[in-house]
């Protein structure tokens, strides 16, 4: 029992310390997550008190047992002297539970209402989940203002973003713990979630509904920046891919378009126009590749293209047979997609 008590104290200490992390419920960086954090803290206090009361009662029962003479006389069957006290305590206990529940239900209900409130002028983003990556589309005014990216969300601080959630294959769940709770992406349904970041920084989201083989490696990055930086990023994303200039890069582009790569990927402004895998137009502007699995360095990119199945066994990207020099050229080309 002491172990459990110590555990509770440990929990309280750890949660109050609110260790920072890119994917952490206890480190809210968005309005919604902060609201939910209020529920969490209320719960922790109310439930913690209740638990201590139960443990105190249990402790006193155990303590009384120590002082009693151990006699094996007839068991107690008639009404005992203490039963009046117990009856009254039970009534109080029921009252306490009911009060506690009313408090918790009310707090929960009020926060739930506030979560439903979107706020003015929201940014509109469409996220489509696939096995096992995230397709992201910023819906601007008309097709020319549309930004396509993958496995990364850029958000301006302070402005609500309404994310429209779709799924292409199985059920996934969209979750950025630092910003808000999670919402499922369900084939045949459209869900929405609102994110209102309150501080800049890099966060991480992850699929939270089991979705098959690589569920564990289906993450995405969230970059919360100032509105100016966000706008600059948005403009840069609208640009088409620049033509490569170096001979190696040009060769890489040819291989990319001539081999299997272009069957699935899109690089805007080139012949590669398929939408089955992530849009690669500005691949190098992202922090990670393979849905948050590897950092976006040249070495990791090379490793990923050379053998995706080695990094994410079962992923839908096949191992494309490339010679060492072809691989080198393709990666050089990908490095130009900024």
């Amino acid at each position: 029992m002491n172990g459990a008590l110590r555990g509770l104290v440990l929990l309280a200490a750890l949660t109050l310390a609110a260790c920072h992390g890119p994917q952490n419920i206890l480190d809210p960086a968005g309005k919604q997550a902060q609201d939910i954090d209020v529920v969490w803290r209320t719960m922790l206090v109310v439930c913690g008190l209740m638990y201590l009361l139960v443990m105190a009662f249990l402790g006193s029962a155990l303590w009384r047992a120590r002082r009693k003479p151990s006699d094996d006389a007839l068991p107690i069957q008639s009404r005992t002297a203490a039963e009046g006290v117990l009856d009254r305590t039970l009534t109080g206990w029921i009252g306490l539970i009911v009060t506690g529940l009313i408090v918790l239900v009310s707090v929960s209900f009020l926060v739930d209402r506030s979560l439903a409130d979107v706020g003015p002028d929201p940014l509109r983003i469409k996220v489509t989940a696939n096995q096992w990556w995230w397709d992201v589309e910023y819906q601007g005014q008309g097709p020319s203002e549309r930004v396509l990216t993958a496995n990364e969300l850029r958000l301006p601080v302070g402005r609500p973003a309404v994310v429209e959630l779709h799924a292409n294959d199985v059920i996934h769940s969209f979750w950025v713990p630092n910003l808000s709770g999670k919402t499922d992406l369900i084939p045949g349904r459209v869900n929405f979630i609102t994110l209102t970041p309150t501080r800049t920084g890099a966060f991480r989201g992850q699929c939270a509904e089991f979705c098959g083989l690589e569920h564990a490696k289906m993450a995405f990055d969230v970059q919360v920046t100032s509105p100016q930086e966000f706008e600059a990023w948005r403009r840069s994303q609208l640009a088409r891919a620049a033509d490569p200039t170096g001979p190696l890069e040009i060769q890489g582009k040819q291989i990319f378009n001539g081999k299997a790569c272009a069957m699935c990927h899109r690089v805007q402004g080139t012949d590669a126009g398929a939408g089955i895998g992530p849009d690669l137009t500005h691949l190098k502007s992202r922090a990670t590749i393979a849905a948050g699995t590897l950092p976006n360095t040249r070495g990791d990119l090379q490793a990923w293209v050379a053998d995706p199945q080695g990094v994410k066994p079962g992923t839908t990207m096949p191992r494309v047979p490339l010679t060492a020099s072809e691989l080198n050229a393709v990666v050089a080309y990908l490095e130009t997609l900024r």
């Binding site: 294959d169 084939p187 083989l213 001539g258 081999k259 299997a260 069957m263 699935c264 089955i276 199945q309 080695g310 066994p313 079962g314 839908t316 096949p318 191992r319 494309v320 047979p321």
Partner: protein, 188 residues
Amino acid sequence: MVASAWGGRMFVVLATACCLTACNRENRALDASPAETGPRAVTVSDLYPGAPAPTPSDPRAQEYEGNAQHIANGQRYYKWFNCSGCHFNGGGGIGPPLMDDKWRYGGSIEQIYASIVQGRPNGMPAFKDKIPEAQVWEIAAYVRSLSGNADKLAAPSRQDGIRAIPPINNMDRAPPTGDPTPSMVGPR
């Protein structure tokens, strides 16, 4: 005790039997990369329309043909690589139907593989280099299942989508007959 020993032996025998039959059908080769040597056994010479199916069998055919996972992957690639653009969901359109028993270029998985890799006259493009071999084999396995020729226990039923074709695993088997009249080649 005797009975349980007998039961144990029986169990082993049964399990082995199940294993042998289920092995290929249920195997999940996540890292699908067979020896990438090109369409070895399939030569251009015997790929005139209406050829019977004398093509020597490719060892890889066995691996793909009756395997549930490979057929399912093939179904996915069929959608992704827009095979439906010409063949529709198997019923045929610009390209020939894939659900009937007519196979102009042979209906064995090796021949279907060759058709995809090498392309065919009158519009079927060659996907050599465009689609890695393992994926071509998977598509071929799926295409073969469309005419009810795959192992019923490995074939999928419906897809998650608009119903275009009856459940594949409930289809009647349409054994490939080839098309005896070469003049029929081309869009109908």
